[in-house]
């Protein structure tokens, strides 16, 4: 069943132009960031800094463009499909063919993997382009702070891999959030823009809390979680923020199921699993 639904969903994702637009947005934003960073950090000899450095300067370090578009890109792909399927009742057509117990779980997992996959594909393409443009070995040319920066000082390759994995994770949790929102919203424009707005509200929300409690609140209030070079926060805090987005997404999915069917309840579900 997992294989069937995966084949079904991958086929649908790959036959939509918007998927390629989303990947292109990630790549173009990296090129724009590289252009800006090359001036900002005086990377005069871009051809010789090495592919990994080019990737770090294009996709990771101060990638403000992507930070702005990160949730938006995710909402364009798989959550939009779920939204459309719910609106035109195709979701029910699928539901008839998938065991009840697995239906929403499978969709949530698919949303996670496909949404995360969008970033992985885009970043791998960018990395390949960077390595083709500058095939030289990369050596450390800058200092980096923020989550996962320990990996940077161990190995540039490892840091790039960790970043791609982190993007996958970010895309995945935003995918779950997107699926949850798609089950509640009736307007696709709101689905696309709401997560971006909420994404930025985190900073303002944190500022509302007294300074002393902010040390605790950063565990639960996501602060631009796509960015790993802007805020110098421990890895665990960053992961905790992603976890909070996942939980919000799951709650939205469960309330979405309940909105659709009032007799569905979580107590009953847990009871059955036990």
């Amino acid at each position: 069943m997992i294989l069937n639904i995966t084949k079904h969903n991958i086929f649908r994702v790959l036959t939509r132009k918007i998927t390629y637009v989303a990947i292109l947005i990630v790549i173009v934003s990296s090129i724009c960031t590289l252009k800006r960073n090359s001036i900002l950090y005086s990377l005069n000899n871009m051809d010789h800094v090495g592919g990994l450095n080019l990737f770090i300067y294009s996709s990771i370090k101060d990638n403000g463009f992507m930070s702005l578009l990160a949730p938006f890109v995710i909402m364009m792909v798989y959550p939009s499909i779920i939204f459309e399927d719910i609106q035109n009742h195709y979701f029910e057509q699928l539901h008839l063919r998938i065991p009840n117990k697995n239906f929403y779980l499978l969709h949530t997992l698919q949303s996670f993997f496909i949404s995360g996959g969008v970033y992985v594909i885009a970043h791998v393409i960018t990395l390949v382009i960077c390595c083709c443009v500058s095939p030289e070995n990369s050596i450390m040319v800058t200092f980096l702070n923020g989550p996962f920066s320990d990996f940077y000082y161990k190995s540039l390759t490892l840091y790039c891999i960790v970043f791609i994995l982190h993007s996958f994770l970010f895309g995945g949790v935003m995918g779950i959030l997107g699926m949850g929102l798609a089950m509640h919203l009736h307007n696709k424009c709101i689905l696309w823009t709401l997560p971006t707005l909420v994404y930025y509200l985190g900073l303002d929300l944190l500022a509302l809390f007294p300074e002393k409690s902010q040390y605790l609140m950063i565990f639960i209030i996501p602060l631009l979680p796509y960015e790993i070079t802007t805020f110098n926060i421990p890895d665990i805090v960053h992961i905790s923020q992603l976890l909070v987005i996942t939980i919000i997404g799951m709650v939205l999915v469960l309330t979405g199921i309940r909105n659709n069917d009032k007799d569905f309840n979580l107590y009953n579900l847990i009871g059955r699993i036990n």
Partner: protein
């Protein structure tokens, strides 16, 4: 083995009782009709039987396996409920092909033969968005029957169809019963459908399901 066993089913939305103490058994390949006015709960009953909705009370068994929101086996039901839903930007054939991924009982040739039988062209590139209501309805019927399930639910299958197509659908329904050994539960506002096709008829009124005597 019972094809369908609905026992004391109850469903309500807020304070409005839609289904009350519904009992329905289908024990052999037959065509069972349900008639009832608009909003009488026919589609809700179908949704409960397919597991798209959970019921407040009661049990539903399909081929001796209980249906509920937590069943972890693939359902043995083919269904057309309310209106046929498809991916609007794909052709009819591609839509059915995608749905066939979930079943081992159906291949391309089956889909094509069912489509041709109902007067649809499998080679046509026209996307579903541009289909007429009748074409959509036919596609919905193909989606419901193509897997040759033992229990088939058809909610007003002849809606939006012309006279000729209605006759074709009637033949298909009869064929599913006789050749495939399926039990068919259908609703219709058209009494002719019910009279021509059904072995037993039930009336759904005020939430209660009552068998109609001859």
């Amino acid at each position: 083995m019972k094809f369908l066993d609905v026992c004391n089913l109850k469903k309500r939305f807020n304070n409005y009782i839609v289904l009350e103490n519904i009992n329905l058994q289908i024990e052999r390949p037959e065509i069972v009709g349900i008639v009832g006015g608009n909003a009488s709960g026919k589609s809700v009953l179908f949704k409960c039987i397919t597991g798209l909705m959970t019921s407040e009370k009661g049990k539903i068994k399909v081929l001796d396996r209980e249906i509920n929101a937590f069943s972890n086996y693939q359902q043995q039901i083919g269904a057309l409920i309310e209106y046929p839903a498809f991916i609007p930007n794909y052709s009819g054939f591609r839509n059915l092909l995608l749905l066939s991924l979930f079943s081992k009982n159906v291949d391309k040739a089956d889909i094509k033969s069912f489509m041709i039988e109902l007067g649809l062209d499998p080679e046509e590139k026209k996307i579903v968005k541009k289909y007429s209501l009748g074409m959509r309805q036919k596609l919905g019927i193909v989606a419901a029957v193509m897997e040759r399930q033992k229990l088939i639910l058809l909610d007003e299958p002849t809606n939006n169809l012309d006279v000729e197509s209605v006759a074709v659908v009637h033949n298909l329904i009869k064929k599913m019963k006789t050749e495939n050994g399926s039990a068919i539960l259908m609703t219709s506002h058209n009494y002719e459908d019910i009279e021509i096709l059904c072995d037993r008829v039930f009336i759904l009124k005020n939430g209660y399901l009552i068998e109609k005597e001859d």
